[in-house]
């Protein structure tokens, strides 16, 4: 049995190539991985769950995992649950848009400055979840 890796959280973003919401989830995930929590987070390309092997599918057993999805289809959550295991937390870009109806998304390639506000809000949510999971791990003495 694979042991959980201490002090690391997995983040799996949906691929989201077709929709602006998917682009937000990808970019927000990368920002957390590269800039905000580089030492505490890891990722995997979601389609690798199907294309890869047992190593890839063990991801959630090794890292408590947050899924980040663009829309209600929730491909990251569904794909992660189907191939790897239950995510520790799930986040959705459309939930942010519901809370902020003034914000709109239209681009799926280069985001406008206004659209990057949605990215910033998503980044905040992801960081909050990462920190929560790490805090819980610490409290449980992991």
């Amino acid at each position: 049995m694979m042991a959980i890796v201490k002090n690391k959280v997995g983040i799996v973003s949906c691929s989201g190539e077709e929709l602006p919401e998917g682009t937000v989830s990808r970019i927000a995930t990368r920002l957390v991985l590269e800039k905000l929590r580089p030492d505490e987070t890891v990722t995997i390309c979601l389609p690798l769950f199907l294309a890869g092997g047992e190593d890839e599918r063990s991801f959630t057993r090794v890292y408590p995992t947050i899924t980040v999805d663009g829309c209600e289809k929730q491909c990251a959550k569904v794909g992660t649950s189907k191939y790897s295991g239950k995510p520790a937390a799930t986040l959705l870009v459309t939930d942010i848009l519901k809370k902020h109806p003034e914000l709109e998304l239209a681009s799926r390639d280069e985001l406008t400055p206004e659209e990057t506000i949605v990215v910033d809000l998503m980044v905040e949510e992801i960081v909050k979840k990462v920190d929560e999971i790490l805090y819980q791990q610490k409290r449980m003495g992991n």
């Binding site: 691929s15 389609p47 294309a51």
Partner: protein, 135 residues
């Protein structure tokens, strides 16, 4: 076979790698600039989770995969969905032909990454034209 007027171009998600971003960028250049009438894309993850609507679609519409690395997630996900995959592209092949280019960045590609993406998009555009002409 009925005449094809539309081709699905499906890149890998490539969130972990620069070359995945090059593939996705090439797809956007193709579907938004070079061949907006003839091409569409979809979220690859919909194939990973077996979304019925898109799986049915790609079984009947010609598809092209664009993969960032030899793991070939886009190709394998289309094949596992029994999609009508007519051509497979690999970013590393294009990179090999353009060794002077050093793509960098995942959130934002450097200018050399953008250039590589455009070269790839132009190659894919020729394939799209051939598919539409031949069928």
């Amino acid at each position: 076979m009925t005449k094809n007027s539309l081709v699905y171009v499906i890149p890998c998600s490539g969130i972990g790698k620069t070359l995945g971003t090059v593939g996705r960028k090439a797809t956007y250049k193709l579907i938004e600039e070079l061949r907006p009438q003839e091409t569409r894309t979809t979220c690859l993850a919909l194939l990973t989770v077996g979304d019925k609507a898109i799986v049915d679609k790609i079984r009947n519409v010609p598809c092209i995969s664009i993969d960032g690395c030899p793991v070939r997630c886009a190709q394998k996900n289309i094949e596992a969905s029994k999609g009508l995959l007519l051509k497979r592209f690999l970013v590393t092949d294009v990179l090999r032909k353009n060794r002077n280019l050093k793509p960098k960045g995942i959130i934002k590609l450097n200018p050399e990454g953008e250039k590589l993406a455009m070269l790839l998009a132009k190659e894919v555009a020729i394939t799209v034209d051939n598919i539409i002409r031949d069928e």
